[in-house]
């Protein structure tokens, strides 16, 4: 019985990693699309403040491009950490969404700290008892407890909005409700475990230590052991579930910003993009409207350079 949470934890991690990689791969392997950026683009350096681009410069193709990766990273950082767009454009939702997401980050941080702490304790004798170890442990408790608490608060707020807001009700699916409820239950269970049995996060730290060192022993007996087991199992299933749903938007968001919204890289004569463009243009067009006149055989170059008489005559007026 004590083996189940360990197996679920490993399975959850594996499914999460594989599903995220598959999603990244799916987006990364899609063909180069038409340019479709949206300003402001933060890496446009000094011009970004007014939403400008290098296209504001005469003969821009003859001049070196000024790109600020630091500005891009700053924009990414504030968006990821503080959900800046939501704060700016939908404050009522941000009041729930921000604690929910920031709580998640804190829980991830606590888990990472516990995992790293386990490795450090393994490598350095006396780490746990040292002053640095105590500080480390306090950080685990703080990030873990606060993370769980504010994430539950945020999820409940989002759930309430989903179920009661006239703006959202018609757009809410059963899965939207289930997903938030799942978070509330899984994180709620973990928080109860913390509050009732594991105020120092010792049990869960031990579980993670066992997970890292492949020791599949129960971390506690009785109700405490049961609660740790149930919490870990729920969190493991949640971890596996996230990338299989639209909640994997953390992957999509990267591509939506970097590959579409901020992708203003110019295609210069003889540049690296030409090969991708040629590959696209030689694909077959199978659109069936009369003016296309591809017959399912012609490629984009042939269709785009066709004489008007060939496709104009075939049009039904």
């Amino acid at each position: 019985m004590s083996l189940i949470p360990y197996l679920l934890a490993y399975a959850g991690i594996v499914v999460f990693v594989v599903a995220v990689i598959a999603r990244i791969r799916m987006f990364a392997r899609m063909p180069m699309h038409l340019r479709w950026e949206l300003y402001p683009v933060p890496h446009e350096a000094s011009r970004a403040a007014h939403g400008g681009s290098y296209l504001e410069e005469v003969d821009w193709w003859l001049k070196p491009r000024e790109v600020s990766k630091a500005a891009e990273l700053k924009a990414m950082g504030t968006e990821i950490l503080f959900l800046e767009a939501l704060h700016k454009h939908n404050r009522p939702m941000w009041r729930s969404s921000f604690p929910f997401h920031f709580g998640l980050y804190l829980v991830i941080a606590a888990t990472a700290l516990m995992g790293a702490g386990s490795v450090l304790a393994h490598l350095a004798d006396g780490f746990a008892a040292s002053g640095f170890g105590s500080l480390w442990h306090a950080a685990v408790v703080l990030t873990g407890a606060v993370g769980l608490a504010i994430s539950i608060y945020g999820a409940l707020g989002l759930l309430q909005r989903r179920l009661t807001s006239p703006d959202l009700k018609d757009f809410t699916t059963a899965a939207d409700v289930f997903n938030l409820a799942f978070f509330v239950v899984a994180f709620g269970c973990a928080f109860l475990t913390f509050a009732l049995f594991d105020r120092s996060f010792t049990l869960v730290s031990t579980f993670i230590h066992n997970l890292v060192t492949l020791r599949f022993e129960p971390v506690a007996s009785g109700q405490a052991g049961l609660m740790v087991g149930v919490s870990v199992s729920l969190l493991a299933v949640l971890l596996a579930y996230i990338p299989l749903t639209h909640m994997s938007h953390f992957v999509g968001k990267y591509f939506a910003y970097h590959s579409v919204r901020w992708n203003d890289a110019p295609n210069l004569q003889g540049g690296p993009q030409e090969a991708g463009i040629m590959a696209n243009l030689t694909q077959k067009v199978t659109w069936a409207a009369p003016h296309i006149q591809s017959g399912g055989e012609k490629n984009w170059v042939e269709v785009a350079t066709m004489d008007y008489k060939k496709y104009g005559g075939g049009e039904k007026k």
């Binding site: 799916m26 899609m30 296209l55 003969d59 694909q283 003016h291």
Partner: protein
Amino acid sequence: MIKNPSIRDLARGEGPVTELNVKDQEPLPPPYDKLDEEPPMAALSSSAKERFVNLDNTIAVNIPKPKTKAEEERLVKGFLSGMQKLFNAGDNWTFLQPLVLSMEHCARCQTCSESCHIYAESGHNPLYRPNYRSEIFRRLYFKHIKKEGTWARGDMELNWEAVARLIELAYRCNLCRRCAQTCPIGVDNGMMAREIRKLASQELGIRPKELHDDGSMLQQKVGSSTGMSSIVVKDNMDFIDEEMTEKTGLTLKTPWDVEGADVLLMHNAGEILAWPENPGAFGILLEAAGVSWTLSSDLAAYDSINYGAFYDDVQLARTLILHIQAAKKLKVKKILIGECGHAHKAMTVIADRILTGDLNIPRESWLPFMVDIVRQGRIKFDKSRNDFPVTLHDPCNITRLMGISEPQREIMRAVVPEERFREMTPHGVNNYCCGGGSGFAIIGGHNFPDWRFRGPGRRKFRQILNAFQGEKMDKEHPKYVCAPCSNCKGQIRDMLKYYDAWEKAGINYGGLVELMVNAMPEAKPGFIDWEWH
């Protein structure tokens, strides 16, 4: 008639799903602050209601109602076939990745709704939410193509009413992408509307006549969507040359087909017919600055429009190739795009991932080109000649979608007294669409123009009125709305007429080059003609 239609209402019953109800609208600023004194919105005729699919008591696309069961099934089957092609890399490499990103990851949080001028000005009618049509499209796709359970993606019935109304609904969006700017995840409902338009055009052959038959097809056939052949356009430009020479006292002779010129200038040909002073002003400025320039009389090269950008990737590519081939033939150093927003975006940004090798001729907005001339002092200006209140409209295609917003302001600072310039709120990349974007400005059937003035255009009119608050609102105190884009200018012209804004508030409109020539001390004064409006 339903005031707050749900998603599923799109597939239900006969007749309109809802309508833009003017009684739900917020009053405009003075002198238009009495809602019941605004001009009425024309009703859709009963014969149109009988013949065509009716979404919201106005019609843009003219989709005939199917007469038989077989026709209904053909529409649904064609829609599903087109939907599959949108997710096929060969057929839709152009937008596959942006489309899938917007399909997969929308959180349906409605953050986008308030950013949409149409939704806001409709009195918050859910039909006009940016995400309403996207969500229906998503539900249809995941249920009927991907065969996924409805518990995760939501349910949506598929019938001919839903298909036809969804296509019509794709023409209730200006494609301004202001909603995409606010999306925390990067979902782009403007792009989604365009994908639905593409599906309808490229698979079913359904789109507004003004964009296709009288638009891109006419341009590819005779050279311009205005119907002007190369002979006619040269005649018209000769006339403009004479007019401008007389009006300014500066000799203008537009150069045609000059091989090896530095710059091939491309105008929206609508300017030549509707606003001849615009191409005339361009000529005056380029001549004054000593630029080596030319126009081309080749097929489509004297008309920069590319309506494919609004509805059809194949048509977009065909027109683009005609533009580029003309530039290649003349061996010019670059193409310069005049005051046309969508031509800017189509020829610079979008074309950037279509053109390779010797077809990849540099394309540039006229704005940075002209700023450079202004900075070098190659043309002298006397700002005091533009001693009237001026506000600036930012065309979405040039600002939000290309990142060009400072050059026009730098020009403005050079030709308009600082204290006379009024920024709209918001402006630049956060601007609102004029309401004529994505082809609306030329779609004129039934009561659609009234709908675009009362719906999409109303936010811009509100901004214009707000910009001029504090001024005397009568025609003895003329005010100028500068709209450096042909489609925007057409929309603003028609909207000012609808609201009788010259008579009631002294508001007129025009381009930016007209303001520049009006400020040239070498030219006779009075280039801007207030009586012509």
